[in-house]
Structure formats: structure tokens, C-alpha cells
């Protein structure tokens, strides 16, 4: 597996068709809209079309594919927090692997996660040590390996590892930008872990879709992190969310129970892969996310 992203199309070339497996989710639905907006021929598959946990899933997915399709695999039961969920996610990927090992695909893209990296990786790159400490990270790490071993030889496989996502339609209300902006919009108190010192790299969802689109246009293979290169403390994010909401909201610190950890990304590989692409700054992304609230 190539580590750094390598483009098989030197110039941007539209794929014949893109099939998005997992089009009902946060990333998948945003991607489908993004691709449609840019004139791609897209087929979005949700669980209603192909349930990867059903016995006929392999046949159902195969039936949906045409020769030379590019397949983007986004589907996952996430966040993966138990043995049962881990096994379900792996069974879902087993189906995709069985299909990808036989199908005539122009490209396969897997949307993984930065959770595959060891917790003590403080400046992550695509070559950082993979040592997941969570079921979620292990799930993505194993799925990456499964696909790498299964995709037909010669078919480019790109593995994209986003950091923490945020955006208007995010269904998860986890600790971070999505939760903070919703609380702030309703004038409700924001409670931090400790004083919110931890720094993380948060990605605006449209940027994820843009990177996937560029990876399709260049028919790239290899691995790329999707991260802005700028990590921000949770307290600063909460303050930004409050400022955007324009309401008086208390940001409350709590007693720290875990040591402070940070994660930063060196995004040089992204600069090299896509020199003309630049990420949305957190402040702008938060403002865009908040507009419809």
C-alpha cells in the first residue's frame, strides 16, 4: 500500500460514475450533494438500498455497480463502541471486500479515521504509528487492511483519514463544535472537561467532501489525512460558538479527571497532493455551521 497519495490522473478527470456506499450518513450525504453540485454522475446507496448486514448484501451491492464505477465506502456503524459493533462493522466491510475483489472498479476510496493512530501521536502524519486504543480506531484500522488485501490488483485504493468532523447536519452531538454551537444557539451552558485545554483539529464537513472529490478527480491511490493543520483548544471553540450565537452563555470548567492530551496534524502531504486546496478555518466553518440554526 502506497503511503503518500499518488495521482493516476495528472489533470482532473471526471469519473464515469461514483457510487457512494453510506450515502445516508453525515459524510455520505454531504459528499453526494457536493459531487452532484460539481456535475458528477453519482449513485448514493443507503441502508435502504443495500443493507450490508443482510444475507443478500453482496449480491445487492454487486447489482448496483457498473463497470468502471468509482466506489466510495463511507458506511459504518459509528462511533464503534462495543465488541458487537466492531464485529458488525467488520461484517459490513467483508461484503464490500468480496464485491471489490471481483468488480471492475476504476477506484475505491475508503473513509477511515485518525483514530487509527496511537494516542500519543501528537503530530500526526500519514506515516504515524497505527496503534488504535478504541474499538472505533481498531475497526477502521482492520477495515483498511481488509480493503487493501481485497481490492483487485491495479485498482487504485485511497484511504482518507478525517480528524474530528463538524457541520450543520452532524447527527452526533459529541463534545466539541457541534454540541457547543447547539448549546450556544439555545443559550444553554457549555460544560468543559477540565478547562477545555485539549487541542484537536476539527474539520468542516464540506472540506471532507472536497478532498474526496479531488481524490476522485485525480484517481488517487495511497493514504491521506483530512485535517486542517490547526488544532484548537475546546475552550476556544466554545468561546467562538458563543460569540457566533451572540447570546450570553456560561462556559463552565469542571474538575479534570484525565491528563491533558493534544493532537496536531502535519498536513504537508495534503499541500503536496492538492496544492490549490485550502481548508476552511474553524471560525468560518463554525459560522457556516451555525447559519441555519
Amino acid at each position: 500500500m502506497t503511503i503518500m497519495l499518488e495521482h493516476l490522473n495528472a489533470t482532473e478527470t471526471m469519473p464515469t460514475r461514483v457510487v457512494v456506499m453510506g450515502a445516508g450518513g453525515f459524510v455520505g450525504s454531504t459528499l453526494v450533494k457536493n459531487l452532484q453540485k460539481h456535475g458528477f454522475n453519482v449513485l448514493g446507496l443507503t441502508r435502504k438500498n443495500v443493507d450490508l448486514l443482510q444475507a443478500n448484501a453482496e449480491h445487492a451491492l454487486t447489482e448496483c455497480l457498473q463497470p468502471n464505477d468509482a466506489l466510495v465506502m463511507v458506511s459504518a456503524k459509528a462511533p464503534c463502541k462495543s465488541v458487537a459493533m466492531l464485529m458488525e462493522n467488520l461484517r459490513m466491510m467483508e461484503v464490500v471486500c468480496n464485491v471489490a475483489s471481483k468488480a471492475n472498479l476504476s477506484q475505491v476510496i475508503y473513509i477511515s479515521s485518525d483514530a487509527v493512530y496511537a494516542d500519543d501521536v501528537t503530530l500526526a502524519t500519514e506515516t504515524s504509528v497505527q496503534q488504535p486504543s478504541s474499538f472505533h480506531g481498531m475497526m477502521h484500522s482492520v477495515r483498511e487492511l481488509m480493503l487493501t488485501q481485497s481490492v483487485v490488483k491495479g485498482t487504485p485504493l485511497a484511504i482518507l483519514r478525517p480528524s474530528l468532523l463538524y457541520g450543520e447536519q452532524d447527527p452526533h452531538n459529541g463534545y466539541g463544535p457541534n454540541k457547543f454551537r447547539r448549546l450556544a444557539a439555545h443559550g444553554e451552558e457549555i460544560t468543559l472537561f477540565g478547562n477545555g485545554e485539549e487541542q484537536r483539529d476539527h474539520i468542516y464537513i464540506e472540506d471532507v467532501a472536497d478532498i474526496i472529490r479531488l481524490t476522485l478527480l485525480h484517481r488517487s491511490k495511497g493514504t491521506l489525512n483530512i485535517a486542517t493543520g490547526v488544532s484548537t483548544a475546546f475552550r476556544a471553540i466554545a468561546e467562538q460558538a458563543v460569540a457566533i450565537a451572540g447570546k450570553k452563555v456560561e462556559i463552565k470548567a469542571t474538575e479534570r479527571k484525565n491528563p491533558i492530551t493534544h493532537r496536531h496534524f502535519d498536513i504537508t502531504a495534503c499541500h503536496k497532493a492538492f496544492p490549490k486546496f485550502h481548508y476552511t478555518a474553524l471560525e468560518q466553518g463554525l459560522a457556516k455551521s451555525c447559519e441555519p440554526v
Binding site: 493543520g229 502535519d266 498536513i267 504537508t268 499541500h271 503536496k272 496544492p275 490549490k276 485550502h278
Partner: protein, 421 residues
């Protein structure tokens, strides 16, 4: 006496040329052999294929003693013959020894039966002892070539490290006469020690550079100034006044990378821990991209269609070499942007997708950002007043502080350099 000792050099490369002019300058008659007749023809005319200060001048000065030849049999006239070919490395720093092994076989077959054979090129530990040549006439000598200072280093070596089959035996008279002429300490040791000593020197240099690079980045992030810190370190005798503490864009040139790769290979083969050496390489690769990261973060994010002016292509000043050059590494990833490039020695045509410029001024004209990627002396005298008038945006990325940081700020430039926050 020294007039009677004749010295030969096989391989008229960077290493061979600079070494032979230094020996000739000390009064020895020298044969300069290379199989490349065209190269020998050019050298005989005084046209040097490499750029080094003093090299053409010293060649001219000593040309009566310097016999350029493509006839290998001329080496039979020599008392001491150096194998001085550069050993090529690949992108991973791995040496290709096949050419040097072939050259040694050819040269050894043409020497007289008293000749001393000295391996001067960059070989891994264990290489010299395997050479088929009488051990009492076979030596390995550590070369200390520094690109841009090669002649100076050859003329005034700090010491000679000489690898021997048996270090307890005195050096042969002819070889001793040659080395003693340079009036520096001579340190005989067994082959393997000398071969590793060369690598050890470079590991220490890389360690210093890596420390400087790592802490320079910390300076950039916390508002400190590495230029204020480094002199304090140099006054510490344990570190030293000549320590490699100038921050740079990683290590380049190929020779240091080769030695690091050799240590990693040896550690892998013998089961020892070389993780710190691997970290040096990782840090070097990371810092090499400082300019690209800075360009994106400070310029391209705000000016998406910026015109980029790049001064310098060589991996350092006073050399034509672009091996592992940070400038080339930068330019390879600027597809899609308007880029103008000028280097006083290297032709910009080595990078196909950029616009070659003929002068500093034409690079700067209408540029949004000026990047000084090689610290050539020519660039020190750039007029900031003119730059301010001609550039479209007043941004300078100058990793090596070729320009004065304070003056740039006073002239209204945004100025980014290594080690200053």
C-alpha cells in the same frame, strides 16, 4: 623529497578534483585519471565540472604538476593512488558500490608492485578489508569533503583518519610523507574503525543540526529567537564554537543521508537500536518542507492565485549540486501556481513547470511572495526599497536569514524565517 613521491587520483569527481588540487598545491606531482575522455579534456583545459571556491584558480596555479589522463596505465607511475570516485546514492541514501568496486579492480591491476592504494570515497564499514589487494599497501582514508568548502578542507585538514589492516604497524614511507606535509594529526586505526569514524562524525553533525532544527521550530512557536540562543551554546566547551547549530531545511546533499542510512542498516543487521538516527531523518524530512508549509499557511491561504518568486535552486551556496535541494523539493509541489525562478549557477530548466528568470529583479517583479531558498551571497544585497516597489504583495520567506529580519520588517514586509517567532 616530496617531489619524488608521485600521487594518483582515480575518479575526477567532486571528491577527486578538490583533493588532487590540494595535494598538487603542496608540491606533489599528480596524475588525475578518469576513464571519461571528454571530462579529462575539459579538466585539462581548466574547465572544472563542479563549482567550488578556489578550485579553478588552484588548478591553474599548479597545472604543471597536474597531469589529467584517461589512460589508466599512467597510474603505474604513482607511489600512492587514491580511489576518489563519488559513490552514488539513491533517494533513500543507499549507496551503489558496483562502480567503485569495478574501478578499484581496474586500478589495482595497473599499479606498480610497491604502490599504496588508498580508498578515499564513501564506503560502508567492512568494505576495505574485502578488497583484493595486499593488505600492507591498502588503506582507507576518511574524506571530509564539505560542499562549498571542499578545497579549503582539503588544504587544511583537521586530522587524517587512516584505516589500516594492522594499526600497530607504521605507515609506508611514501604515504607518510604525503600526509605529514599537511601538518595535522594522523590517527591510524583498523579499517572498520576508520570507516565508522567517518560515519560517526556525520552522525554528530546531524545530531547538532537536528537539535537546532527542532528548537528553532519551538522558537517560531513561542516567540523566541534561535539566533540569540545559538551563540550561547557555542560558548559551552562541551558543544563548541564550530558546532552545526544553524537551523536549516533538513539535511541535504546526500552524504549525510548516506551515513545515516548505513547506521540504520548496520543496526538492523546486528539487532541494535538506531531509532534516534531514524528520528534524525524524519525530522530532516519534516523541516525540509518548512518553506512549503509556511507558503501555504502564510500566503496561499489568503492569496489563492499568488505569484511566487523563488531565488536559489542549489542545495546550498557555492555549489552546483541540487541533490535533495529544499528548493527543488518546494518547486515540485507548486503545480498550478505562477512561479518564477532564478539561481546564479543552476539553470531553472531543471524544473519544467516554472518560469526561468534572468535576474533577482525579474523574479521579484509583481511577485506576491519572494522565497530565498539558497543563501547565495548575491542575494544578501537585494534592495528592500526596490523590492517594496516592485512586488505585488510584500511577503518574504527567507529560511536562512539571507536578509536582515529587522530591516525587512522596517520596510513593511511580512517576513518569515527559521528560528524566529
Amino acid at each position: 623529497m616530496q617531489e619524488k613521491v608521485v600521487i594518483g587520483f582515480a575518479g575526477m569527481t567532486h571528491l577527486g578534483l578538490n583533493s588532487v588540487v590540494a595535494v598538487a598545491e603542496r608540491g606533489f606531482e599528480c596524475y588525475c585519471y578518469d576513464a571519461d575522455k571528454q571530462l579529462i579534456g575539459a579538466i585539462a583545459q581548466g574547465n572544472m565540472p563542479v563549482v567550488e571556491p578556489m578550485l579553478p584558480k588552484l588548478w591553474q596555479k599548479n597545472r604543471e604538476r597536474l597531469h589529467a589522463t584517461s589512460s589508466i596505465t599512467d597510474l603505474a607511475k604513482c607511489d600512492v593512488v587514491y580511489i576518489a570516485n563519488d559513490v552514488a546514492t539513491d533517494a533513500a541514501g543507499q549507496s551503489d558500490l558496483t562502480k567503485i568496486e569495478a574501478l578499484i579492480r581496474q586500478v589495482a591491476a595497473n599499479l606498480n608492485n610497491k604502490a599504496i592504494l588508498v580508498i578515499l570515497c564513501q564506503v560502508p564499514p567492512g568494505f576495505t578489508r574485502k578488497i583484493a589487494y595486499p593488505r600492507d599497501r591498502l588503506y582507507y582514508q576518511v574524506e571530509t569533503l564539505v560542499f562549498g568548502k571542499a578545497v579549503e578542507r582539503a588544504l587544511y585538514p583537521e586530522r587524517y583518519i587512516v584505516g589500516c589492516a594492522d594499526a600497530s604497524q607504521p605507515l609506508p614511507e611514501t604515504y607518510k610523507i604525503l600526509l605529514q606535509t599537511f601538518t595535522c594529526p594522523i590517527l591510524p586505526m583498523q579499517y572498520e574503525s576508520a570507516e565508522l569514524a567517518k560515519i560517526a562524525i556525520n552522525c554528530c553533525l546531524v545530531a547538532s543540526v537536528s537539535v537546532a532544527n527542532t528548537l528553532a521550530e519551538v522558537c517560531e512557536n513561542i516567540g523566541a529567537n534561535w539566533a540569540e540562543i545559538a551563540p550561547a551554546l557555542k560558548l559551552d566547551q562541551r558543544i563548541g564554537s564550530s558546532a552545526y547549530l544553524a537551523p536549516g531545511l533538513g539535511i541535504a546533499g546526500g552524504n549525510l543521508e548516506r551515513d545515516l542510512a548505513t547506521v540504520i542498516n548496520l543496526a538492523q543487521n546486528h539487532g541494535s537500536d538506531a531509532s534516534v538516527i531514524a528520528a534524525f531523518l524524519q525530522n530532516s524530512n519534516y523541516r525540509r518542507d518548512w518553506a512549503l508549509r509556511t507558503l501555504h499557511t502564510k500566503v496561499l491561504t489568503n492569496i489563492p492565485n499568488a505569484t511566487i518568486g523563488v531565488l536559489g535552486l542549489a542545495y546550498k551556496a557555492n555549489t552546483h549540486s541540487i541533490k535533495n535541494s529544499p528548493a527543488i523539493a518546494l518547486l515540485n509541489y507548486l503545480h498550478g501556481y505562477a512561479v518564477k525562478v532564478f539561481d546564479p549557477v543552476v539553470s531553472a530548466s531543471v524544473v519544467p513547470h516554472v518560469t526561468p528568470a534572468q535576474s533577482i529583479e525579474s523574479v521579484a517583479a509583481q511577485a506576491d511572495v519572494l522565497m530565498i531558498m539558497t543563501p547565495w551571497d548575491e542575494f544578501k544585497n537585494i534592495s528592500l526599497v526596490n523590492l517594496a516597489k516592485t512586488m505585488a504583495s510584500k511577503i518574504i520567506i527567507d529560511p536562512y536569514q539571507v536578509l536582515n529580519a529587522t530591516a525587512c520588517l522596517e520596510h513593511g514586509f511580512e517576513y518569515f524565517t527559521l528560528g524566529i517567532g
